[in-house]
Amino acid sequence: MKPLLVLAVGLACAGCSKSGVTPIVVYSPHGKELLVSFAREYEQAHPECAVQWLDMGSQDVYDRVRTEKENPQADIWWGGPMTAFARAEREGLLERYVPSWDSVSVPAYRSPGRFWYGTFLTPEVIMYNSNRITPAQAPKDWDDLLDPAWRGKIVIRSPLASGTMRIIFSSIILREMQRGGSPGSGFEWLRKLDANTKTYAADPTQLYIAIAREEGLVTLWDLPDVMLQVETHHYPFAYVLPASGTPLITDGIALVRGAKHPEEAKRFYEFVTSRPGMTRQAREFFRIPARRDIPPSDLPPWMQKLEIRALPVNFDTLADHEKEWMKTWDEKVRGRGAASGAE
């Protein structure tokens, strides 16, 4: 047993954290590229800090923050749809903070109580494999995805953990409610989509692999991530902004209530939401800023030209029903579309 003991002592020392460095713990779904870039830049400006980020689905972030409520581990929650932030705010998980740029924020893109602020506007898109599908063949609108021609060719990111997918599905239910009167018609729509869906990918990477390697050809995803994948991995992806309009998500940022390093967290918050920070996020990471004071000439050309037709989504209604709808989807829609089509 002696060698083991020696090993144990050695490891205990190796595991000691570097002293004198203040960690800032960031939970975020924004992906490695963006997080590494901004963490590095921040650490260069503030060598006394170490930015420790964990990348996970935005619903995972919410679940973690809630689980750790009594002993918060995260200092800052960066990214995810406003609906998730709104729910966290209601459950008392967030710390109120008014950033220095409050005066140039848009009321629709922040919490009325100033618990969270919108950083980016993220349009949802239909993504497809551009090696196998020409722009002419690609689906033009959400309803086109229900065409039997796409049966077995759609792969979808497992929606429960994904803020993006939760919003897309909930928005579609809302839209069908406006058309048909009840959530039932929305679930009917999703059932048809499920019938065309080959499988649900466990995480974004599994989704990218499936589309890049032609296990599936079409998916529903968000614009910045599609562009980032094309840019960094040269994957054969292209996107369509659905003709009838797309849910425009406000991605948020907030301080976690009871965070261990509140002052550092505030500084990091200001840093990543500063005007230069947001401009760089727009140029390098395809993120459309939610601040009003960034002149269009600072934005990349594609973003200046981008015409987004926003689907009229009442995000308050959506936030009220999302949980129950996603549960119903999991129970009554997932994996059952084909069966209901056959009946």
């Binding site: 205990a12 420790q52 949980k323």
Partner: protein, 562 residues
């Protein structure tokens, strides 16, 4: 009953306290939570689980049970077959190959599933290779969905059957078979009437173990199941959706099914009683000279090759250049970069160090608790009491990892008792504690197996010669228990090092283990880095097995412990 010494009483009260706080209390908290809806006492969640108009949860349990039963059948057939060939046939390299056959045990659950995905998944090496070979339009025989989950289970769990059957066959006396043959019994009749009864306890034990592991399986359904529901995934989904009390009710349901099988295993059939045999073991039921023998050996070699493929694939992927594997059947460019990175940037090793550290903590706790518990229980004279005490103590054995995590979150996200050092969720300590709860039963089982072989009169003699309880334990019991402690300890380390299912729900930034890092790297699309971490993990586990004196070779030990 004899009066107990203060040391014994102290040990007993410590055991009861630890068991109460870390096993009973979390499970109790889970049951309590499941009986609440909206803050009020209610059976709503159970009504929902058994709601006939919305059978999603029953369907999920059904899928899990179906997959588990099929996994048991196929694991049994393949494990039995391999065990037969490797114990009863003579051919070159047999000892080495017999060791390789247990390799899937060294593959941590997450690594195994991912490796499997890259080899047998829709765009894996084999389906893509066959597509190239035959010039078909799509990949040939891709594994996915329910079939994919079953294949992963069979890949990982047939080893249980292999170990148990090899152990039983190892104790089969050659003379029994000779007698049967001498009395005019043909090979088939000998197999059914002589061999099978010997194997029955081992087969039942392996079946129950495979069943429990399949029911608890989380990673395989997560990555393969697509649109299908599994009960472990439902727990995760409910938790993610913010329905902690529903997750608790689903956990209770899953644990109940798993526990039923555990009781069946422990209370039902007797365990194999091989140690007492005296005659030489049989080897040579089948001679490879004859045609059927040759066919069997070739088939076994093929199975073994399939078994090695995922390991080789992980190795290859760790050497593949990033982005060089899209529609090709194997990666097209290679690099050592994923390994040199470990030397260039020490922070990359943090997850490995974390895992080692937490595994050692879990080991220390498991040994302290497990050895003491097994020893104390074995000293009682009351057979019924000791059976039930052992059963209760090894209860976590039947609790799936997802449930352990849910229970820990429910129990330890607030201070346990006022005055105790605060809460555990979000701290470093929760993971080693979860590993401890998941793994210590293996120590109890392995030490109990050693104790069965120990002569009780030795202790009485020591006592008669005036040795106190501590002295008796140290000088008499410990040496006899050492093999059991060693093999149990190694299994605790292996289990903790690769643990994923509880870790993913309980880790923090400071305690993130290798398995979580592998998943994170995969999510970040660093497949090569994920593979490199997997290789490091596999090497550590193989090294441990090697250091422990070739546990892989002593199948018999393993079959008693598992």
């Amino acid at each position: 009953m004899r009066s107990r010494s203060p040391a014994t009483l102290l040990a007993i009260s410590l055991l009861v306290a630890v068991f109460g706080i870390f096993v009973l209390y979390p499970l109790g908290a889970t049951v309590a939570e499941s009986l609440h809806a909206g803050g009020e006492l209610s059976l709503d969640h159970y009504r929902f689980l058994f709601d006939m108009s919305n059978r999603v949860n029953l369907e999920a349990v059904g899928n899990s049970v179906y997959v588990s039963v099929v996994s048991v059948v196929f694991s049994g057939v393949i494990g039995l077959f391999l065990a037969f060939v490797f114990t009863q046939c003579r051919f070159p390299l047999r000892p080495l190959l017999a060791r390789l056959a247990v390799l899937p045990v060294a593959l941590p659950p997450l690594v195994g599933v991912i490796a499997f995905l890259f080899v047998f998944g829709e765009t894996g090496i084999i389906p893509r290779g066959l597509q190239l070979l035959f010039g078909t339009a799509g990949p040939v025989l891709p594994a996915g969905g329910i079939a994919g989950v079953i294949l992963v289970h069979v890949y990982s769990f047939h080893v249980y059957f292999y170990l148990f059957v090899s152990a039983a066959l190892g104790t089969l006396e050659g003379s029994q078979l000779e007698a049967a043959t001498g009395l005019g019994s043909g090979p088939w009749r000998t197999f059914v009437r002589v061999v099978l009864p010997e194997l029955r306890p081992g087969l039942l034990a392996a079946s129950a173990l495979t069943f429990m592991s399949s029911m608890a399986s989380f990673t395989a359904p997560l990555l393969f199941a697509g649109g299908k529901h599994f009960i472990t995934l439902q727990i995760y989904a409910s938790k993610l959706n913010g329905d902690m009390d529903l997750a608790a009710a689903q956990s209770v349901l899953l644990t109940a099914v798993s526990l039923a099988f555990y009781l069946f295993l422990t209370l039902g059939p007797a365990r194999p009683s091989g140690y007492a045999r005296k005659g030489p073991a049989s080897a040579g039921l089948i001679t490879p000279g004859k045609l059927p023998g040759r066919v069997m050996v070739v088939a076994a070699f093929t199975l073994l090759a399939v078994e090695l493929l995922p390991v080789i694939a992980i190795l290859a992927l760790s050497l593949a250049r990033e982005g060089s594997w899209t529609t090709q059947w194997v990666p097209s460019a290679y690099t050592l970069g994923n390994y040199t990175a470990f030397f260039a940037d020490a922070s990359l090793l943090v997850p490995v160090v974390n895992s080692l550290e937490m595994a050692l903590l879990a080991l220390a706790a498991s040994l302290a608790f497990g050895v003491t518990a097994a020893f104390l229980v074995s000293r009682t004279r009351n057979r019924v009491f000791s059976t039930w005490a052992n059963l209760a103590l090894t209860l976590p054995y039947a609790v799936p990892g997802t449930v352990v995590a849910v229970a820990f979150i429910l129990a330890f996200n607030r201070p346990v008792l006022p005055g105790l050092p605060a809460l555990l969720v979000g701290t470093f300590w929760i993971l080693p504690l979860a590993y401890f709860v998941r793994e210590y039963p293996v120590v109890i089982r392995s030490v109990a197996a050693s104790l069965e072989g120990m002569d009780g009169s030795l202790l009485e003699a020591a006592s008669g010669l005036g040795a106190g309880p501590l002295r008796r334990f140290r000088s008499v019991a410990l040496p006899a228990l050492l093999p059991g402690i060693l093999s149990g300890g190694v299994l605790v380390l292996i289990g903790s090092l690769g643990e994923f299912v509880s870790s993913i729900l309980l880790y923090t930034y400071d305690s993130r283990p290798v398995s979580v890092e592998i998943l994170a790297q995969l999510r970040l699309f660093n497949i090569g880095a994920a593979a490199a971490y997997s290789v490091v993990l596999m090497l550590i586990i193989l090294l441990l097995l090697r250091l422990s004196g070739g546990l892989l070779a002593s199948d018999r030990r393993m079959s008693y412990i598992l």
